[in-house]
């Protein structure tokens, strides 16, 4: 199957900084990819490039199109939710629906109304009168009623309280995602989405620090809790990081032999957040 997104030598320079430094990656259809990185690492720049919202150097193909010159046709198959506050404040719920229906050939009004029926949103309400959570519900209802092939989410749950955040991803997974669709998501709250991801891309200082499927991540990284007497032995196996808990050391290993590690102590699967922190500390040398 051909890649949904394929980037080669993707580079974006601003006046004084390099936001993306010759990045290569491929995202296959039917995957849910987490694009994770610290602030200013280049996540949003990468998404903007994918969506045709910024110029760049290098090669980038999204669903077989060049987003720089073919944004209009690309947007027939791509949906996009930037962080919550991008719906125009003056628009009414019914106007937003009518507009998207008027310009998007793959929008289903019935689907949208069915989603909205589950919320407290009413057709006459204006976005400026809605809470952040309700704005996101509206945006999500609009986007999920479009039969797109690629969904791009940039910090979609920023500023939402926990109830809406959980519901957001649950709705997405249950009512939207299937094997034809691809989702790319960036977030700070990586623990929220790690159970739905199929792939992980870490990005740091404009470069890819890690690009792996979740299965590979599970195989590669292990965490071991080691008592002080075996600490030297553990350090000899070159762990990525060490942290102290209750007088014991927790080591994070990348590609260490499971047999060796089992002798040191109790083995755990590390969380994506821990792997992320370890990778960033090591300057992207995971």
């Amino acid at each position: 199957m051909s890649a949904a997104i394929s980037a080669r030598g993707l580079t974006k320079r601003y006046k004084n900084t390099v936001a993306l430094d010759s990045v290569d990656f491929e995202i296959l259809p039917g995957r849910i990819v987490g694009l994770i990185g610290p602030n200013g690492a280049g996540k949003t720049t990468a998404l903007k490039a994918i969506l045709g919202l910024t110029d760049f150097d290098g090669q980038l193909s999204v669903l077989g199109r060049d987003p720089r010159s073919q944004r209009e046709s690309l947007m027939q198959d791509v949906c996009f939710i930037a962080d919550v506050a991008v719906l125009p404040r003056w628009i009414r719920v019914r106007e937003a629906i009518e507009y998207v229906q008027g310009v998007h050939p793959k929008f289903s009004r019935e689907r949208c109304e069915a989603f909205l029926a589950r919320t407290k949103l009413k057709p006459h309400m204006k976005v400026r009168e809605l809470s952040k959570g309700m704005v996101v519900q509206l945006h999500l209802a609009l986007v999920m009623s479009i039969d797109a092939r690629l969904l791009v989410l940039d910090e979609p749950t920023l500023g939402l309280d926990i109830i809406y955040r959980k519901e957001f991803y649950q709705t997405l997974l249950n009512d939207y995602f299937d094997h034809e669709k691809t989702i790319v998501v960036t977030t700070h709250q990586v623990e929220e989405i790690e159970h739905i991801l199929t792939d992980l891309i870490f990005i740091q200082d404009g470069r890819i620090a890690l690009n792996a499927t979740m299965d590979e991540v599970g195989e590669r990284f292990s965490e071991v809790m080691v008592s002080p007497d075996k600490r030297e032995q553990a350090l000899a196996l070159k762990p990525l990081t060490e942290r102290q808990v209750f007088g014991k050391s927790i080591f994070l290993f990348d590609r260490a032999a499971q047999g060796d590690l089992a002798q040191l102590g109790e083995l755990h699967k590390p969380s994506v957040a821990d792997i992320f922190v370890a990778t960033m500390k090591n300057g992207g040398q995971a």
């Binding site: 969506l51 910024t54 947007m75 009518e98």
Partner: protein, 325 residues
């Protein structure tokens, strides 16, 4: 292009206040002032009798409809209605100017400032269609709504004056519906919409280009450069070097950066035009020959071409520019 009506609706929803309510309220205020004028005229009549001069003018004195009107002066009434009905639309034209000005300056800047451009650009609508829908809104939708408001206002005016005449024992047919020729006037006003839009195309192009180009402070970008141009040319004696009158740059360049509709083109030949209306000796007029003159004026077409170029540039920057500061 089959989504173009939706794009126009979008513009209307966002700018309902300027496009619809501004002309409606202007017309309502004018009606209230007219009714107030009638009350004043009635009081003057009661106090001073037939010879009272109420000084309430609407192209003609209101007294005319309250007293016996001599047959030999009916021709004056015809002229009075033409000027009066036209004059009534002046405040609507001024409102339209401000609506157009602020609409254009915000048209491609506000969406970047409030980040909603990220929503609009997430939908399959090209930058060209987006910009053209805004051009159509300001050059067709806005003036047509103002035209409709003018028609309602002028009709109400005629009905009120007819009632006033009847109330004072005069004949509405003889005094109002005979001499007034609103249909012919509306035909000329409607014909003026595209002519005036061509005339202000450079202004719309310039303001939308500034709106699209500015990274911040769109209002200053739109307003300061044309005025600076005028001031600098005055300071540098550029006009006399080119052996042109000093006012040339203001009339032919600076003023045309704003949608005033002030047609100075034949300033050397005759009186000034405002949005098609010529300021005649006794009030504003709008004649077919004025419209024809404007269409024959090379300056209209040169300006329109420049306007088209600026709109193309606005489309380019709609694609290129990211969020505003």
């Amino acid at each position: 292009m089959n989504h173009f009506p939706t794009l126009l609706k979008r513009e209307y929803w966002e700018h309902r206040g300027g496009l619809f309510w501004a002309p409606v309220w202007t017309a309502v205020v004018l009606m209230v002032m007219l009714l107030f004028g009638i009350v004043v005229a009635e009081i003057a009549l009661r106090q001073h009798g037939v010879e009272a001069r109420s000084h309430v003018h609407v192209g003609m004195e209101l007294n005319a409809f309250m007293t016996h009107f001599p047959d030999d002066k009916l021709d004056e009434l015809k002229r009075g209605f033409d000027v009066g009905l036209m004059g009534l639309t002046m405040p609507l034209r001024i409102t339209l100017f401000f609506v157009m000005l602020f609409y254009c300056i915000g048209s491609l800047y506000d969406e970047r400032k409030d980040r909603s451009v990220l929503f609009w650009k997430s939908l399959p609508v090209s930058d060209a269609h987006t910009v053209l829908s805004k051009v159509a809104t300001v050059l067709l939708l806005a003036p047509l709504i103002t035209f409709a408001a003018s028609v309602v206002l002028q009709t109400s005016f005629l009905l009120i004056v007819a009632t006033l005449t009847w109330f004072h024992g005069g004949s509405p047919m003889r005094m109002v519906f005979g001499p007034a020729e609103p249909l012919a006037l509306w035909a000329r006003m409607l014909a003026d919409v595209p002519v005036n839009s061509l005339w202000i195309l450079p202004a719309v192009g310039w303001l939308m280009f500034a709106s699209s180009f500015a990274r911040g402070k769109a209002f200053l970008w739109a307003v300061v450069p044309p005025i600076m141009l005028g001031v600098l040319s005055a300071m540098s004696d550029l006009m006399s070097t080119l052996s042109l009158p000093d006012a040339w740059i203001w009339v032919h360049v600076v003023m045309r950066a704003f949608p005033i509709g002030l047609r100075f083109a034949n300033i050397e030949r005759g009186p000034v035009n405002i949005g098609g209306m010529r300021l005649g000796d006794d009030g504003p007029e709008l004649t077919w020959s004025d419209l024809g003159d404007t269409l024959m004026d090379p300056e209209l077409w040169i300006g329109a071409l420049i306007g088209v170029g600026l709109i193309v540039a606005a489309i380019y920057y709609r694609r290129k520019r990211e969020l505003a500061d």
